[in-house]
Structures are given as structure tokens and as C-alpha cells.
Point group: C2
Amino acid sequence: MSADTETPLHPQRLAHSVIGADLSFLLARANAVSLSAANAGLAGHGLRIRSYCVLALACDGARPSQKEIAEFLRLDPSQVVSLIDELAGRGLVERVPDPRDRRSNVLVATDTGLEVHSRARVDVVRAEEALLTVLSAGERDALANILRKLAFANE
Amino acid sequence: MSADTETPLHPQRLAHSVIGADLSFLLARANAVSLSAANAGLAGHGLRIRSYCVLALACDGARPSQKEIAEFLRLDPSQVVSLIDELAGRGLVERVPDPRDRRSNVLVATDTGLEVHSRARVDVVRAEEALLTVLSAGERDALANILRKLAFANE
DNA sequence: TATTGTTATACTCTATAACTATA
DNA sequence: TATAGTTATAGAGTATAACAATA
């Protein structure tokens, strides 16, 4: 930032490139920004974005199976295993065998899990809000509606 | 999909969870969908999304330095090194020393690189279009404008 | 002294296949 | 035979620190 006084190459110099107008690229970059904000917010809670999502689903009362969690979060079932192992090891969630299909486990949060989640959620929401200040309320709504279509396209 | 006749657990069952309304989550999931579509489109060209982006920037004529590429794509400079190594090894791009700062390399595409890029671009765009059919033209514009703000927030 | 690019390393994430127990 | 979850493993992506050449 000091030797470039003659040619101040700021980051957005490339924003007018072909790829800079590409929706996939913008989606990827916006996601990267959002991801690191969320992870920074979660750092103090011993969670990362993935484990937070699994915990959040467990706290939601929907009693999701591991397979449902995998599909919803777009993770491989084997990744869900280790995420739950970690959360269960900390006493935040429990695998409950589904009586209607004994192959299947259903995920529920413990009381500790509920507490940890609600504290972590405060920081996740705060980090997200900080990012979203660049958007109007209308833009946020529009973004949510459009992303929902895209996120669950062909499913 | 057969044993669940009594309780048809479709993927969107969890869409009404707290996290299913979260902008960060929707952004992450939409990006995952878009990423795998793009990578599928690139598979036949020996490229992945990252190498394609670097190649695209090289083809753009902006003569970006490795540092600019790293910042724009939100990659670590060391990742850019190996991406360029790979592309240069295939004769698609060349590192040109910047005469104004001999520490710095500037990336340019070879003729082969331009050809490979333009062929790959066809499939990337096709994959993206297939995904975007769920959106109206107005929604696409809105999405691009909103994502641009988010993607380059605080920079 | 600071910066660009490079190398090395470790850690996380992703993708695959094979196994078990149930259905 | 098919499915839910598990284990193991390899490959891709991410993050960090240290180094050489140059500013």
C-alpha cells in the first residue's frame, strides 16, 4: 500500500472483468465474506459454521434424522456423523433411536445445547447484521426470497 | 424413498427451521448448488472453479498481479501460486515480470489459454443458465446488484 | 523495513467406497 | 435388496509461518 503510489492498484480494479459480473462468482465471494464473519462470531463458542448449523437444527424441535440433516445442509452423511460426534461429546446433543425405524437416529438438543446455541446465536446474528448494514430492508427481503429459490432449485 | 410412506420426509421439511430463514445459510446453500453446477460444467475441460477464475482473469487483459488475483478471489497468495503453476504447466498462462516492480508478476493468457477459456466458458455459462431458469430477469439483476454490495462490503 | 512471490506444513472440508444393522 | 448410519481414506480447500528477491 506504499510502493504503489504511482499505480494505486485497489482490490476493485478487477471488478469490471468478465468474471466480476458473473453471478456464480458474486455468490461465491459474498458467501466467503459472510462465512468468515459468521465463523469469527462463533470462535468464542467453540463452534464453527457447520457444527453451529447442526446444533441449530437439533435445537429446533423438528427432530431431524442424520440423513435429513445431511441433505438439508448439503453435507455427506459421513460428515454429519463426525459433527454430531463432536457435539455429542460436549453434551450438547443426543442421538435418539427412531422407534419407527431402528436404523435411523433423530437428533435432539440437551439443555446445555440449548443454552450454548442461544448464546452463540447472539454473536452469529450480530456478525450477520454488521454485514447486512450495506443493504436496505427491502434488499434483504428480496435477497432472501431469491436465494431460497436458488438454494432449493431442482429438489 | 420407499420405507418412508407413512412419514414422507422430504428435504424441505427443515426449510421452516430457524436456520432455514437465515441469510447466511441461504447464501451458503445457494453457493453450494451453484458451485457444483459450475464444477460439473468445467469437468470436461480439466479445470475447476478456482483455476477457471484465474484463467478468466488472465484472459481479461487487465494484466493482474498475483496479489491482485489473491485479493479479488479471496485466496491466499500461496494458493494463487499453485493455481498459476498448474495453468502455466499446461501452457495456458504466463507470468510476466512487471518492469515497474520486479518483485511482481503479471498474469497473461497464451493463445491456447484464450481458446481453452472460451470453450470452458460456454459450459460454465450453460450450467449457470440452467440454474437461473428459476429466476426472472428482474430477479437476476436484483440478485447481482445486491450480491455485489455484499461481496465487496468493507473493502 | 516492508512487500511480492514462494515453499512448507498443518488443518479443515469434500468425496468415495466399504462395512453394520436394520428394513 | 435397499437404506441409515459408520468407518476409513484420499483429495481439495484454507490458514500460517518462514524465506528470497526486490522495493
